[in-house]
Symmetry: C2
Subunit: 449 residues, 2 copies
Amino acid sequence: MKMTMAVDIKSLIDKGQLKLLKQLISDQKPAKIVEMIEELPAEEKIVVFRLLHKDQAANVFTELESDERMKLLSLFKEERLKELIETMDPDDRIEVFEELPANVVRRLLAYLSPEERKQTLTLLNYPEDSAGRIMTPYYLDITDHFTADQAIDYVRKEGSEKETVYTLFVIDDDRNLTGVVDLKDILFASNDKKISDLMTKEPISADVYTLQEEVAQIMRDYDLLALPIVDSERRLVGIITIDDIVDFMEESATEDIQKMAAIGATETSYFHTSIFKLVKSRVSWLSVLLILGSLAAFIIDGYSEILQKVTILAAFIPAITDMGGNAGGQISAMIIRSMAIGEIDKTQLKKVLIKEIVVGAILGVVLSLVMAVRAIFNTTDARVILSLGASIMVVVMVSNLLGTILPFVAKKFKLDPAVISGPLLTSIMDIISMAIYFSVAVLFLKDYL
Amino acid sequence: MKMTMAVDIKSLIDKGQLKLLKQLISDQKPAKIVEMIEELPAEEKIVVFRLLHKDQAANVFTELESDERMKLLSLFKEERLKELIETMDPDDRIEVFEELPANVVRRLLAYLSPEERKQTLTLLNYPEDSAGRIMTPYYLDITDHFTADQAIDYVRKEGSEKETVYTLFVIDDDRNLTGVVDLKDILFASNDKKISDLMTKEPISADVYTLQEEVAQIMRDYDLLALPIVDSERRLVGIITIDDIVDFMEESATEDIQKMAAIGATETSYFHTSIFKLVKSRVSWLSVLLILGSLAAFIIDGYSEILQKVTILAAFIPAITDMGGNAGGQISAMIIRSMAIGEIDKTQLKKVLIKEIVVGAILGVVLSLVMAVRAIFNTTDARVILSLGASIMVVVMVSNLLGTILPFVAKKFKLDPAVISGPLLTSIMDIISMAIYFSVAVLFLKDYL
């Protein structure tokens, strides 16, 4: 389906049937148009852009992947580019600007009116992960002495340029946020009902500096379509709508999964990322982990005497190191995800720790039994079996403890907990596991030395 | 904040000031009430429930964690329980029923009117991950000869019981879906404008059997607040609203992260999951992985002769096995996530494979150099260094290949690709890595034997 659409567009362009093409795409949604032109070369994308009216063009441009946007920016005519940047919604503009090199941003800023330039620079000044960065100033505000009827008239007159009309924001003379009201409640009320009687007082809101993560939690918990954003003096300065939060949630889950798998951020989807960038996103982490993992060599090398005499010890090194990575990886993934969705906060280490010490102990005992039974298939030496079982028990408990503590430590030092989970924990645990394994082995097997 | 609220409620209950309490909570949002009563013992939660009006009670009950719901169900009086189940929205009811034992569901079904029972059973019959399972039949449908004015009157009269009034669904005489129209477009239009002129024809919709994952993709791509769901004859049977998709996205990302970290599903949040259940969610996977990882012992044991002579080989076992897990883990996490958000589909193996063969080769070469340089710190034996470098190169390439192919194979056999990523891949790679490592070592070091 996707392919045939692209071919059709291409053949229309080739045949010069641009009028027909214009008709075909004139009432398509931006996402549909993006899908239709995805496979076209950049030069022909530009042809399609010429046929779109300016709002549509701005929306389609915003929905493109960032590598495509970069490509197109250099191909647009000066005038067209100016129009495109001007027409974009402020929050979309920020999203596009974020990914561009500073010199390009400077050039594009020059296209804006002084007022819009100021507004854009203000938004760009908020921290990257803050509510201020994704809010839009295009909302409907009313005062609480409006009647239901007046409010609806106002929506009809002023609503078309706003990001949403389904939530109205009530402010006082100082622009302080005093309430929110759903359009549906206004519709259901009698015409002369006052907004002050319909609105939710002390509404749920967030600060410009609130983390986007927290904004997502609030909007999810309260099933909101839009959240008002206030400045430090509680003046309403913007709103965040649910569609932006849906995008944020997807991107942040992807980022967390990538970090847990030790992949550097790629801003574009897989097929839009070049081989060079794919390698780049992976090679530095793999190198770091290789170096870290190989540090265990110094420990193991120190036990070469016992290894030479009891070579079966080498055979179980992978089982021991895997266990160190897996047990800690489980709990840290669990905690990191719970932190991301607000089920565990950084002050709750003690509560988690108490629970996990018990969990770790039970897991340690069970898995040491599994290990002991499994080891019988490779050796009948009771001391080797004992030392394997004991090692697994200690490794599981230590790894579980470390996997519990590390995410909290990361949060404390304002590092990203997802980065320290998974492979990094595995590499650290390699060293610790080997130290445990061989210390225990020497203890049980000292007769062999 | 959360704590003091709970204490307040508790002291109000203790002092018998239920009237005041009722007033306090009467216009709170369900999520707020859940937060306020979270810390109360079940018996006192029941007291609070008695004070809520029935819609509020149904909504608060739906927002509770499933272990709490189970506890409360046994404490509600028969009559109250009946009212609660009756009042719930059909989609919420399904969510609650899903987690209950079959005998409890049967008992609760008896509380419903025949019609509602039939409806509930129909919804319960759709596959667990299908659109049919989370849709609601409470939507506004109109026909296309309505005028804008008539549509608004209809919203005002019929809207209050519906899941959303911001999207209206246009059907013909056979209940076939012919269009959708946003309430705002109706508001912006002149009073006598026909819906047929305002609606989007051939609207985006999904089938009752469409995967919830795909529904989320569609709603995200098209920024929809509600998506119409049709049956096999394109008759409109329900809608899915964005708040349910926001919940779905959060849960499915959590599930994927848990699966990648080899954790069994826990349906409740961390603090609501008992130690027994936490252990249960982790121990079987850890046991399986321990057994799998220890299979490498048979390989290594077969090379005890060379190990005895070149003990330094044992020292690098963790570095080699880690690399096998990490390289493949990266690419499989990337592919699994891209599959989940619809950027890669199961037919694109070839396209991905071509790219990844090149990526794997580059990574293999770079990392073998890193390994060689790193090895110098442990040994000056050129043949050992060569054999380490060569092993890493082959391990990276094989692991990258396996990490690329496995998610596609899983999809092909309708298995969950997230389950086979991470630890399971690591364990399989352990065996393969050790086979590669020692074969290469024997090749380079045969003089020592």
